[in-house]
Symmetry: C2
Subunit: 326 residues, 2 copies
């Protein structure tokens, strides 16, 4: 077992660094905090790093505010755990610092992981890196406590969309059940992760829904958001994150689109489907992604870009059809 050699590495050092990826999500933050806490409970000195800002919504996790965005100089051979990163480029401006450190332990669940570590604990059947950390804590004989459980539970819930996504397995549910034993409140965690948004988000949603349009007997549906709409509502572009799902979730819609006209001559296009391979569509437009969730960025006049994308999807649907789900 690969984690056995990791447990022996742990015996050889007293100090460790933990790194996670740029634009961190709940799994990146929760897994890092949980692993850091487990190491500290085992008597180790630990610092956690992330290249960039921790989003406000994750600051309810204990010690999330202590995650650092700068690596100090003169570290010597401190071993580095790199969590939830498919490759070292995910560490953005911290990449070179990590390569100057000691041994690298790569802990991840992405199918695209490049096994870049001196040790690689990669399990693509895990819904979240947090599932791997949960096992590792057990295998190393470390303790779980409420703080670790909260961080791991939030990480798993975050990466499975509250146990809705296809990556949710029987094991995912059983681990989450074991974590809930530590007196966690799933309602409070879920609200923080999923169900709370600033006023600006709902005002922006209101304006976005007013732009909802359809073509091809409502098989294609889209909303168009402009930089002005974001500014008027005091919102930030990140608040658009889930908007395209409002389009995708309409019955009968095969492809849901969110156009975000950034105001600098570019349009960011989000594509979602329950039935159509939108990765193939994004690919033709110079983007990429997953079969059900993809995106691309296109330069040009707003209405020209919209027409180009919609026309391509029309052709795609007429050639490939829109198969029923299940």
């Amino acid at each position: 077992m690969k984690s056995a050699s990791t447990c022996s590495l742990l015996n050889r050092y007293d100090q460790f660094y933990i790194f996670t990826h740029v634009r961190p999500d709940g799994d990146a933050i929760g897994s890092s905090l949980a692993w850091g806490r487990a190491l500290r409970l085992a008597g180790k000195s630990v610092q956690i790093f992330c290249p960039g800002v921790i989003p406000d919504k994750y600051l309810f996790l204990p010690r999330a505010g202590e995650i650092r965005d700068r690596v100090p100089d003169g570290n010597g051979a401190v071993p580095a755990f790199v969590l939830d990163c498919s490759d070292l480029n995910r560490l953005d401006y911290m990449k070179e610092k990590v390569q100057e450190l000691g041994e690298i332990v790569n802990i991840d669940h992405h199918v695209t992981n490049e096994n870049f570590g001196d040790y690689n604990i990669v399990d693509t059947s895990s819904s979240a890196t947090a599932e791997i950390i949960y096992d590792l804590i057990g295998e190393c004989g470390f303790k779980l406590d409420r703080e670790i459980s909260l961080c791991l539970y939030a990480a798993i819930s975050s990466d499975t969309g509250s146990f809705k996504y296809e990556n949710t397995t029987p094991r995912t549910m059983r681990i989450a059940g074991n974590l809930l034993e530590y007196n966690l409140n799933p309602s409070v965690v879920s609200r923080k992760l999923f169900d709370e948004y600033p006023l600006s988000t709902i005002m922006l949603l209101r304006d976005a829904l007013a732009t909802l349009r359809f073509e091809e007997e409502q098989k294609i549906a889209w909303m168009s958001v402009t930089a002005e709409m974001i500014a008027v509502n005091g919102a930030r572009p990140e608040e658009l994150e889930s908007f395209v799902n409002y389009v995708r979730n309409i019955e009968g819609v095969a492809v849901g689109i969110l156009f975000y006209h950034t105001g600098n001559g570019e349009t960011k296009v989000g594509l979602r489907s329950n039935t159509v391979d939108v990765a193939a569509i994004a690919w033709e437009l110079g983007g990429g992604g997953h079969p059900r969730a993809s995106g691309c960025t296109i330069s040009g006049d707003a209405s020209t870009v919209e027409k180009k994308v919609i026309d391509l999807i029309k052709v795609f649907i007429s050639e490939n059809g829109t198969p029923a789900v299940e």
Copy 2:
């Protein structure tokens, strides 16, 4: 154990009826279908009844279309399982029929259950009646199959809001994990239960969000929907079900309100909060509910009703404050 006597009842009869409540939810339907299937696999003859229509969103559950809304005459002493009902009034126009039948087995998880059965299997620590059915299937030595697992999983997911609500326990998660072993796709089930809506719903949401208003430094927020708005969008009043949550989920909002002006001189008021006892507010307005989710119906002119409710909440907040959550 109470279920032991139920298992013995099962040996004494070959035919059973299963009843569940009016305006059935996912737990009512899923539990009934699962228990019916388990009994049939054990060689029993079973019919399932529900007073009223099964909502479209649940028709993906196997055999949901076979649930009957009329009880035939001349039944004799057929034993009746009554599922997910706190009292017999929940059976609406079927109540008397059930009382004319044979022995009644009351299987439920509501704290308000009146133990109305000849046998009562009531477990208020269960997130859903489906958890009790899961145990009962095991205790009676019945088989689980994919169809039963799908129905039980959907029932539990439905009653816990995809494992978000406070009623979600470690046991809930472990049962759901065991059910997922039967090759279920949590993504497909979740979409059916939570993430799919007719076009009319999103158009109505668009119009509802355009009415979003605030008072008291945004501690009170509300939307106002009229019968005309519902008609114009080809929607039905049931589609308003989750709208008040869009108001409640805004950061800083203490009380979220949905006013539905029905057009016949009445306004239905939905109240939601994460911090304030809205049951007490609804009580003063002649309604009722839970501390975090309540409602009432008020007669009168639309704007007068809105002012009355908002003024009362203002007084309530000034007297009781808006405590922070956690």
